[in-house]
Each structure stands twice: as structure tokens, then as C-alpha cells.
């Protein structure tokens, strides 16, 4: 039944949104919160497919859910895996590890911590 298929798509969509990683740096702008409004509106597919109805509409909705799951399972990161030194750049080998550490630490800083960081960033030591 098309009704049951559609509710299955909705349930899978909701599950995918629950699994979506939360972003501590941008709490007011999260993809899962914005997409959850589609569940309330009752249509998963974007307005470009609004003219469809029946089986094509179900298929369009399932494709949206499928796209979400491909992103959750890191399909593209695995499919196009980087084997070389791209993530250990010669100009700064610890760039990405420093970045991840900074991103972990930044939301937890107090106001004083942020001010201290800003003042420290005004002084730059560079070997020249």
C-alpha cells in the first residue's frame, strides 16, 4: 500500500535525522532541525518534485532518505579514499590534527578563555 510505504519512508527519515551528528559550534543552524520540519509538513521531497503524485512521489521521497543514509554511512569518503599525503600537508603536517583539537575545545571556552585567545592571536611569532 502506498500509505504504508510512505510512512516507512517517513520513519526511516526520522531515524536518519536522529543519527545525524550534532554540531556544538553552530547550535542554532543544524540540518536535522531544519529537515525535521519536512516531517511536520508531510512531504519529504523538495518543491522541484511537487508536481509528482502517487508512485513517482514515493520514489522521490525514498531517494531523499537514501541520500541521507549514504551520507551517514560515509559512502563517498570510503569510495574516494585519500591514500596519499593530502591530509598531512608538507607546509604544516599537524594542520588537521590541530584543527580538530581546536574545534573540540572552542565550544567549551569561557568568555575569559576567548579573550585570552584573541589577545594571544594578536602577537605572531614567525621564523623569518
Amino acid at each position: 500500500m502506498s500509505g504504508a510505504a510512505r510512512s516507512l519512508a517517513f520513519k526511516q527519515f526520522q531515524r536518519a535525522l536522529e543519527r545525524w551528528p550534532k554540531d556544538p559550534l553552530r547550535p542554532e543552524c543544524q540540518l536535522q532541525d531544519v529537515l525535521a520540519r519536512r516531517l511536520e509538513k508531510g512531504t519529504l521531497a523538495p518543491p522541484s518534485t511537487a508536481s509528482l503524485s502517487g508512485a513517482p512521489k514515493e520514489e522521490a521521497e525514498l531517494k531523499q532518505v537514501n541520500a541521507l543514509y549514504t551520507l551517514l554511512e560515509d559512502r563517498y569518503k570510503v569510495k574516494y579514499r585519500i591514500n596519499g599525503q593530502l591530509l598531512e600537508p608538507r607546509s604544516n603536517p599537524s594542520y588537521y590534527t590541530d584543527l580538530v583539537a581546536e574545534l573540540e575545545e572552542a565550544p567549551k571556552r569561557t568568555w575569559f578563555g576567548r579573550m585570552a585567545k584573541r589577545l594571544g592571536g594578536l602577537i605572531r611569532f614567525s621564523p623569518s
Binding site: 545525524w20 551528528p21 543552524c29 525514498l62 531523499q64 549514504t70 574516494y80 585519500i82 608538507r90 584543527l99
Partner: protein, 321 residues
């Protein structure tokens, strides 16, 4: 380098003979670097998915004046420029990098190119979005297939996306070379951004343009941070970053196109990773020849979590569902 109005004023200043020689020398250095590029083209051995067909032979017959000029060029200027390039590498390197980054940048900027003609503006036919942004006339994949409006911010974000992928690869050069290449690439972008604001959007006020350029710079830094985080962490985080920046966090985003863009970014990074440094500086932008819309076929393959629920139906060549 100078902004547009300064360049216009510079054109009015009569060139001294010494400046004319300097200008010719800089041009020969570009010509010399192009010769080097043709020699090092053979270094690019790793096959990529985008192979260009060989260019057709040129059947141009030079006139007498061109032959004399060509003779002078071959006998005097080119050897001089080559010698200068080897001896005074530090002085000539910025010129070579300027030309090479300009070629790289032009490929990035051409992806989501749009225009608002003066006739349309005079006739009052320029539409605006709900936020007040002017909508021009564009074409190509990003506007037609991905449903992005041909506005300045779309052009800026698509260009920044392409520049970001090149910057990730440029980070793998030595520290000084990396700074030089990235700074020149970004300079080209901001010069053209101001140019577009002035010419296409008729923004005569320099203070207003400066304010928008500062916003754009903050967006560029944000793009670097967000996409770096996505590349390191995973596809979901990268998709969130692309959604916030390229698709402006809008609710009606097509998740298939979002996944296709993420897939295409990972593919470009993989191809850039396999490229050697010399090949990168010559035809780095060749990684962009494979269009992101072709990744939609890979996106529609069923995910493991939907095993049994969603079966892909065989499609003819179409990029929309």
C-alpha cells in the same frame, strides 16, 4: 595588484621606455614559464577520470612583422627571461605564480558565471530575491541542474568551493610556496568580486563595496574552516557544511544534489592528491572537468540501511528524479 579604478588611471600614464622593457620582460617570463609547463606536462603520468583530447595543430602563417618579432623573442628575450628565472628565482617567482594562479582561478570563477546586462538594468527588469539580492542570467550545471539562483552569492560560493579544493592541495607544497600560491589565488578572487560588484551590480560606492568584501572575506574563512572540518570528520559533517554555505541553510534543499556535491568534492580531492606538484601548477583545474551532476547516479544506489526497502529503478540518462 591594483584595483580596477587604479588600473584605469595607470593606463593613462605614459609608459617610460624602461617600464616598457620591464613589461616585455614580465611577458617573456610568462612565455618562458609556459615553455617549462609544456616540458613538465610529461610528468603528469597518473591518469585521471577527465582526459582532454589533444589540441589540433595550429596552421597560422606569420606575417613579416610577426616573424621579426618572433625572431627577436627567440634570440634575445626568451633566453634573457630564462636566465633571469633561474638566477633571480625569488624575484621572478611571484610573476610566474601570478600567471599560474590566474589560470587556475579563471576555471574556478567560470563555473557559476552570470551576468546582468546594462540594457536589463535600464529597462528595470532586474529581479531580486526575498533578501534583496539581484538575480542575473546564468547557465550551466550549478544553476540549471542544482537549482541555485544566478546571484552574486551563488557565484561567490561556487568559486570558493572550487578554490577550497585547490587550497587543500596547495597546502601540500612547501611553507613559503604554499603562502605565495594561496595568497595570489585568493587575491584574484577578491579583485574579481569587487569588479563584479562595481560593473554587474552597479555599486559605485567604494565604502559599500569594501563592507561587502569584508563580509565575503569572513565567509571565505568560514568556508575554509567548515569544509576542512567536513573533510576530516565525515560525509555527514561535510554535507552540513555545504548545506550551510552553498545552499544557504535553506529548508527546501534537494538532498540528492547535496550528496552529489559531497561525492564530487571527495572525488576532486582524491584526484588532486594523486597529482604531482608540477602537474598541479599547470593543469590542476583539470580535476573540475568531471561535473558534479554525474555523481547523482552513484548517489541513487541503495544504502545499506535501506536494504530491502529501497530498490533502485533502472534510469535512462537523467539527472533529476
Amino acid at each position: 595588484m591594483a584595483c580596477r579604478s587604479c588600473r584605469l588611471n595607470l593606463g593613462l600614464v605614459p609608459l617610460s621606455p624602461r617600464r616598457a622593457v620591464d613589461k616585455r620582460l614580465a611577458q617573456q617570463i610568462f612565455a618562458a614559464s609556459q615553455q617549462q609547463q609544456q616540458q613538465t606536462r610529461r610528468l603528469h603520468k597518473t591518469p585521471t577520470r577527465c582526459q582532454q583530447p589533444a589540441p589540433e595543430p595550429n596552421h597560422h602563417h606569420p606575417s613579416a612583422g610577426e616573424r621579426v618579432k618572433g625572431g627577436l623573442q627567440k634570440m634575445i628575450f626568451e633566453p634573457m627571461a630564462e636566465k633571469l628565472a633561474t638566477v633571480a628565482r625569488k624575484t621572478t617567482q611571484p610573476y610566474i605564480v601570478y600567471g599560474a594562479t590566474e589560470r587556475m582561478y579563471k576555471t574556478c570563477a567560470a563555473q557559476a558565471e552570470y551576468n546582468i546586462t546594462k540594457e536589463a538594468r535600464r529597462a528595470g527588469q532586474v529581479k531580486t530575491t526575498a533578501e534583496g539580492e539581484e538575480i542575473g542570467v546564468g547557465g550551466g550545471m550549478w544553476h540549471d541542474d542544482f537549482g541555485l539562483l544566478p546571484t552574486f552569492s551563488t557565484w561567490a560560493h561556487v568559486t570558493m568551493l572550487h578554490m577550497y579544493l585547490l587550497v587543500v592541495r596547495l597546502r601540500c607544497l612547501d611553507r613559503d610556496a604554499h603562502h605565495l600560491w594561496q595568497a595570489q589565488l585568493v587575491d584574484h578572487f577578491f579583485h574579481q568580486a569587487e569588479d563584479k560588484m562595481d560593473v554587474v551590480h552597479d555599486m559605485a560606492s567604494r565604502t559599500l563595496r569594501q563592507r561587502y568584501l569584508q563580509d565575503l572575506f569572513v565567509q571565505w574563512r568560514g568556508v575554509l574552516l567548515a569544509y576542512d572540518e567536513g573533510v576530516v570528520k565525515g560525509d555527514a559533517v561535510l554535507a552540513s557544511a555545504v548545506w550551510r554555505n552553498l545552499f544557504k541553510a535553506r529548508e527546501d534543499v534537494d538532498l540528492r544534489t547535496l550528496a552529489a556535491v559531497v561525492s564530487w568534492m571527495r572525488l576532486c580531492l582524491k584526484n588532486l592528491d594523486q597529482m604531482q606538484d608540477a602537474a598541479l601548477t599547470i593543469h590542476g583545474p583539470s580535476v573540475f572537468k568531471w561535473p558534479a551532476a554525474k555523481e547523482l547516479l552513484g548517489v541513487d544506489k541503495p544504502a545499506r540501511a535501506l536494504d530491502g526497502i529501497y530498490k533502485e529503478t533502472p534510469q535512462k540518462h537523467s539527472t533529476s528524479s
